[in-house]
């Protein structure tokens, strides 16, 4: 089988001078070992090939996708794309394809992840489960590696390789659950026993939970909960298309957050997950979205950038046409406090391990409803006391980081799971002055 870059170039060559063309090809293998009731119940793998071709024939645009890599199949895909485009009206917002740009060939992959076997994943699961065999464990361990190639008819081309490994799971008693999570480029850095111990400890401490009366409370949020906030801000707020359409809260140049908050989109560095360029072949670079409380910029693909009169920041993705450009390498700048120090600053509040089922009520106000899950505890006089049953909140995520409400940031920056999955956000723990809990176990 051809490599991703070779396939992309071959497709563009097949289009020839009949249209502007860009091809994005992703080849890889993803395998996931899933466990519940402390045994492996689903264990799956996939060899994938994703080919996306976008053509513009005199401004009439169409995109086609396929998963067959033979010359005949790719030729058929090309002809379908050209035929569909030919029937279309001219797209007045077509931004054209990316001009040649310098993108060094990048390889963020890890050999241990590429070569991880089903037996090795099962061993990490066994270690997670074995952290406390008196509890009931559930979760997954997965590995994914990929080779991405891009080419377009200006002669621009790029290659990137990468990998990701994750273990994520819970331990459960009859009445409580606790979670643990780790993600890395490198499977050999995944420690199922350590993550299982964190989950088991939270589960054990979660027993005998009481129903807390809903209301405004101080909170200390673990990295998973902070990551969910960051992702919602990115998805709905720093999205250049949402801003163009008047649906974003973001106001570049204005102080919208506490001065302790800085937020970046950073696809670079040794811990980077993902490719070094986007779906349109634009290089991805470090972008500072919030600088010490001040919103500094939005992210764009070529289409939203054209509308805004600026240039793409490299945030085109497979669902750009539906959702707009999204930052997918978010980093919330950490502080210097330990988690215990954050907790010690709370007289009466709630510690939240993670959020669950968050949904936005209005993107402009960023009012979100969701629940706590897998570890909710009362904080009294600077220490965690009793477990609390899961709480519902209805809270503006953007206002939760407003000036004066961020009272502390942890030093524990790491990849954190979030509402949309692993590997999208690195975040630390965070102490907030107020959080609006609107319901509990009893409604």
């Amino acid at each position: 089988m051809k490599g991703a870059r070779e396939s992309a170039e071959r497709i563009v060559e097949m289009v020839g001078d009949r249209a502007e063309a860009e091809a994005y090809v992703r080849i890889g293998r993803g395998e996931l070992t899933r466990f519940a009731n402390s045994f492996i119940h689903q264990n799956v793998g996939e060899d994938y090939l994703n080919i996306r071709l976008r053509v513009s024939s005199n401004g009439s645009v169409a995109a086609v996708t396929g998963d067959q890599g033979s010359d005949d199949a790719m030729a058929a895909l090309v002809e379908t794309g050209l035929a569909v485009a030919a029937t279309q009206p001219i797209d007045p917002d077509w931004p054209g394809i990316t001009s040649p740009a310098d993108i060094p060939q990048s390889d963020f992959s890890s050999v241990s992840t590429i070569e991880a076997t089903p037996d090795q994943r099962a061993a990490e699961v066994a270690a997670f489960v074995g952290a406390d065999t008196a509890l009931v464990a559930a979760g997954y361990c997965d590995t994914d590696w990929f080779d991405i190639g891009f080419a377009n008819s200006t002669g621009h081309g790029a290659t990137s390789r990468g990998s990701r490994a994750t273990i994520d799971g819970i331990h459960q008693t009859d009445e409580s659950a606790g979670s643990g999570h780790a993600t890395s480029v490198d499977f050999s850095r995944i420690d199922g026993a350590a993550i299982g111990s964190i989950a088991a400890d939270r589960a054990r401490r979660g027993t005998n939970a009481f129903d807390l009366k809903p209301g405004e409370y101080q909170v200390v949020l673990a990295p998973e909960a902070v990551a969910t906030i960051a992702l919602f801000l990115g998805f709905y707020g720093f999205n250049g298309r949402a801003y163009n359409e008047g649906q974003s809260f973001a106001a570049p140049g204005e102080t919208q957050f506490d001065d302790s908050v800085s937020l970046a989109d950073d696809p670079s560095g040794e811990s980077a997950l993902g490719a070094s360029f986007d779906l349109e072949g634009t290089p991805k670079t470090h972008q500072l979205l919030v600088d010490r409380g001040v919103t500094t910029m939005l992210v764009h693909d070529r289409r939203s950038a054209r509308r805004a009169g600026t240039v793409s920041t490299g945030h085109g993705w497979t669902e750009s046409s539906k959702y707009g450009p999204i930052p997918g390498h978010l980093v919330v700048s950490p502080g210097s406090a330990s988690v215990d120090e954050l907790i010690s600053g709370v007289d009466r509040g709630v510690y939240v391990a993670s959020f669950n089922y968050c949904r936005i009520l209005d993107p402009k106000t960023q009012v979100v409803t969701g629940l706590t899950r897998n570890g909710t505890f009362m904080i009294e006089n600077g220490a965690i006391t009793d477990a609390v049953t899961n709480l519902r909140f209805t809270q503006s995520f953007s206002k939760s980081w407003e000036p004066g409400n961020v009272l502390g940031l942890g030093e524990d920056l790491r990849y954190a799971d979030c509402e949309f999955g692993a590997g999208l956000v690195r975040a630390p723990s965070m102490h907030l002055g107020s959080w609006n809990f609107t319901g509990g176990a009893a409604g």
């Binding site: 009731n37 995109a63 459960q172 089922y357 519902r392």
Partner: protein, 479 residues
Amino acid sequence: MFENAVAAVEAALGAGAVYADARYIEGKSESIEVFNGSVRQLDRTESAGIGVRALVGSSWGFFGTHDTSSTGLLAAGRRASEIAKASAAVPGQPFELADVPVVEADYETPHDESLFEVPLSEKVDLLVAVTGALRDVEEVRLATATVAGWDTHKWFVSSQGHRIHQHLVETGGGFSATAIGDDETQIRSYPQSFGQYETGGFETVRRWDFLSNAPRIADEAASLLTASQCPVGEMTVILEASQLALQIHESVGHAIELDRILGWEAAFAGTSHLKLEELGKHRYGSSLMNISADATLPGALGTFGYDDEGTPAQNVPIVNEGIWVGVLSGRDSAARAGLPPGGMARGDGYPRMPMVRMTNVGLAPGESSLDEMIAETERGVLMSTNRSWSIDDKRLNFQFGCEIGWEIEDGKLTRRVKNPTYTGITPQFWGQLDMLAGEAEWVHWGTPNCGKGQPIQVAHTGHSASPGRFARVRVGVTG
């Protein structure tokens, strides 16, 4: 194409599986979105591949691949068995797959007009006209209209002898108008949020008559900018049928999935408040509540001939006069629970392992009507079209937001209200169902975006519903 699936199954058996099955799938899809008069998205997808499932001892392995060469098929079968063997390092209790009829069969979705045979220009012209009509209202700044469809051929083979070919056709679409104020956005959608999808061809889109409904939807979106906020407090709520369909999906459909009840989804989607020992005894709701999971409903989105384990589509009672009586199951979950298999295991394309999914989980119609419910309500809110949805991991504590509401006073609709929300606890809420509209207002709503599983799988499900009235509901939760 049966031979491709047979080759993969035999490879899995040769590598040590005691049972294996395979789905060879060829599919195509099309999605067109017009935004403010211009085509923003026109995507066509063509795919082919195989997914092989192998059982070794009591452990499953699954492997999917796009590589349909003979080498690729054999490698996929062997890999599925290798993965299953690795699962045995952390094994579960032994089990036998529940018995199902071994059949050779062919099934095709009844349809009149393939989406792919309707000229692109006709589809685009319709959507451009719809967004134009929406934009005739000044406050509407964002007008979006969509049609989409899937055309899928599946060849299923099992080591027990199944040979089933299915041709499934699903089509739909919708539109939305968004009005933007200084510090808010207000949206109205038709026929429901995310559109309406059904099994069938482009005739489904024609039947919903997008163009005639566009002016009303645009006017409603604009009016919400100046509408009053939803009242706050405990009062009667009437849910329009598509919102009630989502309520069914979230607070009944997921809760009755047997894999959740057994704990198999505990870490991600969650479990269920239902306990198997309460089956046949637990009161789920009022006596007006009659729910079934019917994969045979003509036109509904969750309709097929056979599930992805070769089990025939069937109509399974779930709630009878408020009492919980049934679950959604597959061959392994049913066997472990000692229940008959319901034919509800489906996978999201060839690369995903089949798991328990909703079919058409619907609420049978009552004998009232929306007009009668309004007339018999002293104080309440009528809410329509979902805008947000959130529910906890046991499917108990929910909070839903709708696009639009109307206050009801003394049996009459009064003013429009914006940002309507309601919240509750599943069995209490369903216990407060006190009026339900009849068959004339009963619609097979489709949900094309039901997410579940790891890796995530998206399923297409159906939910028949008519408008319903609920007493003493907490309304107007805000941030």
